[in-house]
Symmetry: C3
Subunit: 354 residues, 3 copies
């Protein structure tokens, strides 16, 4: 029986040294990344091994052999079990040590942690917190649009050398479009701060563009001429420390009907205090041909690389600044969702220690 169930849970890192909760579902990988090859990752400063059983179920266990600390990802799969590449200790998907070869027997004391997994939409979600609190934690947000046949989507992963909240704040304040992405996305009308609202632990923004000329990045997939005045409803939410969702609905200003829907899901998972995995899914219900989706992916990669360069530069600034947290920070109206997000993270963390 895996030891994760039988002893009191303790966070691997002290609360003071992090700004993320453990009692939360996080994205461990894109579904497409997990297969019959062993995939080792550090998530929340914990070594995690990801693979699929023979019948295709995604498994997440501790990526560390309790015998002599070898990463299990250097071993190999034996059916549904993983065998350590050092001395052959073998673990089932629930973390049980089913074989210690030199002992010729299973070794219950050598269990590893097995983490609950939910595979949903394009993501493999993992829960690495207190098992006794799992039922109280909101399940992974359902990106139902990814299951809508009208939609096509692309996805990707970036390994970013910055605290995960720097990306959260980036996508919660889109007034950066006119500067970071001036040459790529060409969206020049994201200037005034949006309306921002917070309900419980969800914070978000909503901005209505009325008869604003469509940049090519939006006009082309809709099949209208670039520069056509169009209405856009652009809104986004921080739905958990793990996930930020964003949407644009394109509305024909003459008819008042939604002519197209555009969706982005930004999932970020801390590797440690100064690096993260960033998983994204981007889709729409128009301009869905293979060529157009390839163009969407290419354009997104260019734009997100601009974000990456900026937030890595910010992280480097923060890391080098000897003043640390006492360095000045001036916030404006468009920062409201980002500041709410910080408070929401604080509340998630308080819950797990309170």
């Amino acid at each position: 029986m895996p030891n994760s169930e039988t002893q009191e849970w303790r966070a691997p890192t002290p609360r003071e040294s992090r700004n993320y909760p453990y009692n939360c579902w996080w994205v461990a990988a894109l579904s497409s990344e997990v297969g019959r090859d062993l995939l080792g990752r550090w998530l929340l400063e914990t070594p995690v091994l990801l693979y699929r059983t023979e019948d295709g179920r995604a498994v997440a266990v501790e990526n560390r052999c309790p015998h002599r600390a070898a990463p299990l990802s250097l071993g190999c799969l034996k059916g549904d079990n993983v065998q350590c590449g050092y001395h052959g200790f073998t673990f089932s998907p629930d973390g049980t040590c089913v074989d210690a070869p030199s002992m010729g027997t299973a070794l219950p004391a050598a269990a590893i942690k097995s983490f609950p997994v939910i595979e949903q939409n394009a993501f493999v979600w993992v829960y690495m917190g207190d098992p006794t609190k799992l039922s109280e934690v909101p399940p992974p947000h359902d990106l139902e649009w990814t299951e809508d046949p009208a939609f096509a989507f692309v996805q990707g992963r970036m390994d970013i050398k910055a605290n995960y909240m720097l990306l959260k704040e980036n996508v919660l304040d889109l007034t950066h479009f006119g500067y970071v992405h001036a040459k790529s996305f060409g969206i020049s009308d994201w200037v005034d701060p949006p309306r921002s609202t917070t309900q419980g632990d969800v914070t978000g923004y909503h901005k209505s563009f009325v008869r604003s000329p469509l940049p090519p990045i939006f006009a082309d997939p809709l099949g209208v001429a670039a520069g056509t005045p169009y209405n856009r409803e652009n809104y986004g939410s921080f739905v958990s420390p793990a996930l930020q969702i964003a949407a644009v609905d394109f509305v024909d200003p003459e008819r008042g009907a939604i002519r197209g829907k555009f969706r982005v899901s930004h999932a970020t998972t801390p590797i440690d205090a100064t690096s993260m995995y960033y998983f994204y899914v981007i889709g729409r219900d128009h301009g869905t041909s293979a060529a157009e989706m390839a163009g969407l992916l290419k354009g997104s990669e260019i734009g997100f690389a601009e974000d990456e360069a900026m937030i890595e530069a910010v992280q480097d600034m923060i890391s080098r600044d000897p003043r640390g947290a006492s360095a000045p920070e001036i916030s404006v109206k468009s920062d409201a969702p980002g500041i709410q997000a910080r408070r929401i993270v604080e509340r998630w963390m308080e819950k797990e220690t309170g």
Copy 2:
């Protein structure tokens, strides 16, 4: 109004963790390095942005947007102002935030530090200390020879992974010529320790060579045969923690007249405790043809690279030695100016905290 004027000044780093003063003029760049492209540097563990206004004035401001800590050097110039590349906050040369685009207004609270600048001789000097003490601080040393039409000079910059005082001690003890530069400079008579004198906060050395054979490096520009017995007056001074100057006057032993003057200025600016910028200007009033000056630059680059290799090796030794400051240090007579220099730096630092 920039905040640097309005609140009590505090050193960005505690005194115990550094061996340099803030209340001092330091070289931020060669004049030739500063232009209409944004130049970001860490100086004294502080991010600094350098550029020129449209009328050519050198500007130094904090290279950190107070909104979300982006390096301003990733942004762009708008006339004389710098616009942050993240959300467009714009700052004038005096540090005032003249535009926060999402607010559609200037934002006085978001001022950045603006540092006093003096451009003089080949250097852009910057003052990053307590503004209220500026009048008490000696101005940048005037390298008046660089303005003398009889002189030609070359210059350069090296980024060295060593504490800045290691270079100071290097140029204050020229008995290293026979070892570090045995194959490059070929100056073999710098053996005995020089006279050393300290007056107030200036320490220096003076050494007279009488009828000593000139090595080619000195003989060629003078137009005399290598090996000719010649007199040389070689002297140098630590004029501030930022600057060390050195001189050789070549004297015809028959006539007693100065036949040539050779000058070197070594400016060092701490990046942090274990790295520095090294800016040098080297000139003379003889052998000043373009080809000869190109040879002077080339030869200096070779020799200074020898110094760099040595002091980086010393820094690595100091950094790795677990004994730290308790490791032995034996000093000899030729170290007197270097030891005085350490004490002078201590006095500069005491002044700014006393």
Copy 3:
């Protein structure tokens, strides 16, 4: 007179920050690595310079000039003495400063440490501990087989980014053969834990294979067909924190006579807490042609690189794990020699502080 004799000895690093003793003979280099070129190494977190005198004697002194901390390995040999490349301070093999050029004299106060050296078998051993305890410390283990004309041997060095004890534990638990070296050595019968014995400060294992099919790696040099059932006596000992020895005697099961002897010496020397030098000598009294020995070296390099990858991954796991020493460790029977080895190291360390 070198200062190492005249003042009370103190370990360069506190006991809490290391898991190795100083009062022990350690391998500094392969004999073949030490010559008339200066060789600088960090051993036991101490800078060490190795070279040979003109008559071929190996010398080990502190690789740090006490004047201004330059690594002496950047200098050059003057006969049997080493001259610092910075200001020319010159030291004899016993550490005496025989010349400080700018003073024109020897400088007894500037002595460096000189470490006792024993060159024996293929190794240069060095003693870097308390000189007054040298007589109480066991001399380097005699690898007498390397002097046996019936034997041929090969050797090598690896620089491994892992604590030295991780290699010790690796070679004390050969049940890793079937996993780490499954594809290289092809030794599949090292499964059950061996007998393990500890006598004083020597711990070891002994395992008898009876009529076990010989893998090609053993069969070929013996000149018997791969798969031939054969007896093997495989034993090894941790003889000091510096040295682990291993042996296989091949016994013809029909005649009961030893048909071949195979020997491996694993010497490990800490560079610091997370890196080591690994020196090995591998030999046998059969299959000793030049081509066969080249094959032995090549095969060993492949196998040892597998060990290196594994123990570097383990070190990385240990270094990154925020739980530190509180992370679980489950031991089984085959770990007995490794666990004894840790205790023996503890005893060595207690002796030098008790």
